[in-house]
């Protein structure tokens, strides 16, 4: 794409990002690993980190992102939420549907709030 998009943006609207199609196996493995590792990290975040973990355990600051990656990639690819640019209210609306309509009932209220914060900040209306 040339320098044109700058002009283009004078008119509201955005173009879809060309998403890479993951290679079949990698997708399977990555999803498996991310769910499992994510769960472990989520456990750390829950405040009761069992001490003797792996040495280079990621820092707690990354937890909201990890929570997002763990829970929001279980049923569909993370590209679905990542392709959105929504304000807090709309993210809350999405979250309510995921939990109440589609069955993501295991995400606790606290985790929901952290994920909503993360999404509002990183995938808000002004995000690139």
């Amino acid at each position: 794409m040339s320098e044109l998009p700058r002009f283009w943006r004078l008119w509201p609207g955005r173009r879809p990002v060309r998403a890479r199609i993951p290679d079949g196996f990698i997708a399977v493995a990555a999803a498996a690993l991310s769910v499992l590792m994510g769960n472990a990290l989520a456990a750390e975040h829950n405040g009761k980190p069992p001490k003797p973990m792996v040495e280079n355990a990621p820092m707690v600051e990354t937890a909201p992102k990890k929570l997002f990656e763990t829970h929001c990639g279980v049923c569909h690819s993370l590209e679905l939420p990542r392709s959105q640019r929504l304000d807090r209210n709309t993210w809350r609306w999405v979250m309510d549907d995921m939990v109440n309509k589609f069955g993501a009932t295991w995400i606790t209220g606290k985790q929901q709030e952290l994920i909503i914060d993360y999404l509002t900040e990183n995938h808000g209306p002004q995000s690139p």
Binding site: V28, A29, A32, L33, L41, L80, G103, T105
Partner: protein, 441 residues
């Protein structure tokens, strides 16, 4: 504890089946032993809540794993990527469930080839479709009919058929042009195709089954497994539209059996209406005595407010109405966005226009932000509901940045808007299409 071992084994098996390398399996085992270590700390529910799933929620989690939901989804994913390769150039918004569209310049064909027909999936692709296996498939017609039917693919193919070019367009096509942005797949303009579909007229089937006087609406069901605990995708149409001669139960697309991602073996084709009416992987039609009331017919799904609402607001559910036909729209398929040319050179402009239940009256083009307009040559469609084609030529006398704009009008005088009217879920986007062109000396 037994449960988590089973999950480990299931997942490991899945990885092995998918050709995981020794390294990958080692990594997997390391993670799993960590997980087991954590699980060992407490018992049952405590372990699960430590794993981030929250106390008391273990039933839900076990339900998902127990149903094989997650492993099955991943497995399907591995197969599906091969299918996406049958759609070169597709912009994939997300791979699971597969949703992808083509940029406008790849939609230049008069009849959309299967390789360039968009894909909008709410759930997973049925195994039957992946395997192109018609064995055991039947279509049931039941509900408010005198003689319920159950037909095999062969039965269906022995009935008289019709062949039409038909625009199928996702109700959310154009969503990326909404401001403020709305929820859902960010379709730009390419979630439309006008392919040639062959099948049995739905009205022939309904006549055979004999509609009762109580028949009001159809409800379509398909074989696609839903995601999580979502209700299986289902929508329907009023009986009048079901009896319209162009509404097909289609088993051929462009002369071939349907592509796995476009609904193999059989789908509904409701031309001119939003795509969700055209149920894929169809296996049952229920005739209902009231307006169909599935999840995707109610709430905010595939519905818009009955009056215009302020952008960014969320009107009450009670004012949402079911989406039916598309409205006047056009697409410039030549030149591609950001094409470079030189001053004084002629440039061909081409594209399509369509109008839901209406007809296209004219398409106007502008290269100066709408100050001057000229009519393009319009070619009539192959049949009702197929798209029209427009042709023209433009020339830029000076260097600079230009935009080619197309604006279609229907026979009632409705034209495409200059700004996208807003609704909460981003449906029926038909703002005029603008293609930037750079001209040098």
């Amino acid at each position: 504890m037994k449960k988590s071992l089973e999950i480990h084994d299931q997942l490991r098996e899945l990885l092995v089946e998918n050709g995981a390398s020794g390294d990958d399996l080692d990594r997997f085992d390391t993670v799993m032993s960590r997980r087991r270590f954590l699980a060992g700390l407490g018992g049952g529910g405590t372990a699960l809540s430590l794993l981030g799933f929250g106390a008391g929620a273990e039933m839900a989690l076990q339900g998902l794993f127990g149903r094989g939901m997650i492993p099955a989804a991943w497995a399907a994913e591995a197969e599906k990527t091969a299918q996406i390769e049958g759609k070169p150039g597709m912009i994939v918004h997300n791979p699971r469930p597969v949703n992808g569209e083509f940029p406008p310049h790849l939609l230049n064909d008069d009849v959309t080839p299967t390789t360039r027909h968009f894909v909008r999936n709410n759930g997973l692709v049925p195994q039957r479709a992946e395997a192109q296996n018609p064995q055991g498939w039947t279509l049931a017609i039941e509900g408010e009919v005198h003689r319920p039917l159950k037909l095999s693919l062969e039965d269906l193919m022995q009935m008289p058929s019709a062949t039409y070019q038909a625009c199928i367009e996702c109700g959310g096509n154009g969503r990326a042009n909404f401001n403020p942005p709305v929820r859902g797949n960010p379709w730009d303009r390419g979630a439309i195709g006008c392919s040639e579909w062959q099948g049995v007229r739905l009205r022939d089937l309904l006549q055979r089954a004999g509609l009762k006087d109580s028949a009001v609406y159809t409800a379509h069901d398909g074989e696609d497994p839903p995601i999580g605990s979502a209700q299986p995708f289902s929508r329907g149409i009023p009986i009048d539209k079901a009896m319209e001669e162009h509404t097909l139960i289609a088993y051929r697309m462009n002369g071939k059996p349907l592509h796995a991602l476009n609904g193999y073996p059989v789908r509904v084709v409701v031309p001119g209406w939003i795509g969700s009416a055209s149920q894929k992987w169809l296996n049952r039609i229920r005739i209902r005595d009231k307006v169909h009331d599935s999840d995707k017919m109610t709430g905010y799904s595939y519905r818009i407010p009955e009056y215009p609402v302020p952008p960014g607001s969320r009107p009450p559910e009670s004012v949402m109405k079911i989406l039916t036909a598309w409205q006047i729209k056009s697409l410039i398929t030549l030149p591609a966005a950001d094409t470079k040319t030189s001053a004084g050179k002629r440039m061909a402009v081409r594209g399509h226009a369509w109008a839901g239940e209406n007809t296209v009256d004219r398409v106007l083009l502008s290269t100066d932000y709408g100050v001057n307009w000229k009519a393009a040559k319009l070619t009539r469609p192959a049949n009702k509901y197929a798209w029209y084609h427009f042709d023209s030529e433009v020339r830029f006398d000076q260097k600079g940045y230009y935009e080619i704009w197309a604006r279609a009008f229907d026979q009632r005088g409705n034209a495409q808007p200059f700004r996208q009217p807003w609704n909460p879920r981003g449906y029926l986007g038909n703002v005029i299409h603008r293609v930037p062109v750079l001209v040098d000396v």
